[in-house]
Symmetry: C2
Subunit: 383 residues, 2 copies
């Protein structure tokens, strides 16, 4: 007889922090040394689609995960922690209501796909774990809120907890040893400040950098300056950033975004041995943003860099001309531009030759996107 196959599918977004997560106070539970804050990016441009299924017909099989068409290891402690907690929540529902099918006892088959190349070096683990947790929570029909699920996703990948919400999202570091207060909360929905845009300059790293997982712990262990970042810099940046978002104050948003990126990479450079994620192309992007703001006579663009050389440049839709125009004028032969970019090329800021040459030779791909929604349930099943 044919057994039912239960399934649920969801998409989840990438998020790019404007106050950075760097350093764990508890590596096992992914408890961070400091709070962080990010902007969720539109899933029209960057998203992970995940289908979670379970069925009695899978009996005798192990849980499995297919990622971008390739069988992927699901046995890792981080993934296992997520599955264990989700099954426990389902089992609790089944215990309360015996009429529910015992899905918690069935093997899981999970299939996941990104709509962007992992090669882009964009943190895909955040979207991946957010989609995994959200899809299984839907499959199990858990009543859990996004914040409750963020406690689970956090154990898969720290920054994944922020991808359970759209818009502007804070991850509160929390203080408890069990991590039950280390969770994501919505600072403001995308609709509060919908004109936020992000232009991503994908820079090919000449040399693979230190992984963020090991890099951040080297910083915690060896950087003397990092202590000041955790104790003073980040708390001030979190407060200023939340106020800037509530007030839709782009100049303040941009200043804190750039200062926090500077502070994060300064702590990487102060690590022993030093960690360098930004290269000369990244620094050229910094100079370009400075030149654009100077030419505009006000702050219309803000750079931020994660654990790699890619530049993420935040700007408001109404300032597309000076920001997009300058980079399109310089990099129009690069892949990834949307048609609208062409209309801004006439409003380009002139950049010095060193900066222009570095960007032309070093930027391999463009991604144009903006603030977006959180995970979205879909009937587009991959199984």
């Amino acid at each position: 007889m044919a057994e039912t196959i239960y399934k649920a599918s969801t998409t989840a977004p990438v998020n790019i922090a404007v106050v950075k997560y760097w350093g764990k106070r508890d590596p096992k539970l992914n408890l961070p040394t400091n709070s962080s804050l990010s902007v969720t990016l539109s899933q029209a441009d960057l998203r992970t689609l995940t289908t979670a299924t379970c069925s009695a017909s899978y009996q005798g099989q192990e849980d499995s995960l297919i990622l971008n068409g390739e069988p992927s290891d699901i046995k890792g402690a981080r993934t296992q922690a997520c599955l264990r907690e989700l099954r426990a929540k389902r089992a609790a529902l089944e215990a309360e209501n015996p009429s529910l099918p015992k899905l918690s006892t069935l093997p899981l088959r999970i299939v996941s796909e990104n709509n962007f190349p992992t090669a882009a070096g964009l943190a895909s683990s955040a979207a991946g774990f957010a989609a995994l947790v959200r899809a299984i929570a839907d499959l199990y029909e858990l009543p859990s809120s996004p914040t409750e699920l963020s406690l689970i996703a956090r154990q898969g990948s720290g920054s994944a907890c922020r991808s359970l919400f759209g818009g502007y999202v804070a991850w509160r570091a929390g203080e408890r040893d069990d991590g039950l207060d280390s969770k994501a909360v919505e600072v403001a929905p995308a609709s509060h400040w919908p004109s936020m845009r992000a232009l991503i300059l994908v820079v090919s790293a000449a040399k693979k950098g230190v992984s963020s997982t090991s890099g951040m712990q080297q910083t915690v262990a060896t950087s003397d300056l990092f202590k000041g970042r955790v104790a003073n810099v980040v708390p001030a940046h979190m407060a200023a950033m939340e106020a800037a978002i509530k007030d839709r104050d782009f100049a303040k948003f941009a200043e804190v975004t750039m200062k926090d990126s500077n502070s994060f990479h300064a702590c990487c450079a102060d690590t022993y041995p030093p960690i360098y994620y930004m290269n000369d192309v990244s620094r050229a992007a910094v100079r370009a943003v400075q030149a654009i703001n100077e030419a505009a006579g006000k702050t219309v663009a803000a750079y931020t860099f994660d654990a790699g050389p890619n530049a993420v440049i935040y700007y408001l839709e109404e300032d597309s001309a000076p920001v997009v125009g300058t980079f399109y004028n310089l990099l129009q032969s690069t892949d990834g531009w949307k048609d609208e970019a062409k209309s801004y090329s006439s409003t380009a800021t002139q950049l010095d030759e060193t900066t222009s040459t570095l960007l032309k030779e070093g930027v391999s791909r463009i991604i144009m996107t903006g603030v977006g929604e959180g995970p979205i349930k879909t009937d587009q099943h991959l199984v």
Copy 2:
């Protein structure tokens, strides 16, 4: 009738800090935010030669300075402060002893020459002001000690106060508002640890960086992490470095040297807007030093970077083979190698291709030198 021309000539050395001076608590008096420590480099390779003269036959003329064959501005506040203090000391001697010629009343003619191209981007102002002060002090036959003269040279260029001594030199930041306790002292003479060598990789900067004078004050004003450097990092580095020098402990000397350079450049990157002195070539030199130390199984080389992309690599003479050998093997077509370098090429550490390519394309000149003596009186007059 022919008037007597009084003259005195001296040479003065360059110094490269291993605990960096960055930030002034009093820009007018050049009082630093923190103490610093440097190694004086051999004048056989890098030195300024200065002749100071005065004569009644110059009556009616203004003080003048010829630097590397070009008339140079002597009216600057910093130079004037040095001349004023030196003349005051001479005038005091003349008041005590009326038989002394009244040199303090005569116009000065000063001629100065470096034996290295200013283009090399090596802090020539330190050697320049040290030579200027030492030469005039000799001309005036002042009984002042090098530490007393360091109070004067400091007002010309902060790091110049350290070039009045050979060997290993500390500049005590001091606490007094009048700066009378902000002076240089000898930590150890060159003879205490004579095997210290320095290999300088001159890297052509693609873009002129921010001057250290303005850069350091931007850091003081805007870097939140800098507060931690001044309050905690530098005091710890000063104590550890002085102990390492007294014990001739190269591993410790190297660790503190590299950590302090990392900390200094981290604070530059945390400045708003950020200041970047190191480039991808500089970072390749960092990786090369790491590779050399790993291959040696112990610390045989230490990198440090001032306010520019040049790498200064300290090592001990007995470790010339792995250190010089590696760089000579890679950069033998570059100008500046001494003959001895050839004999080490067979002991080179293999560097990864990215690192090798960056160094080959980015290093424009080599300077091989080592720890050396302080200012030396000479009869080789430029007038």
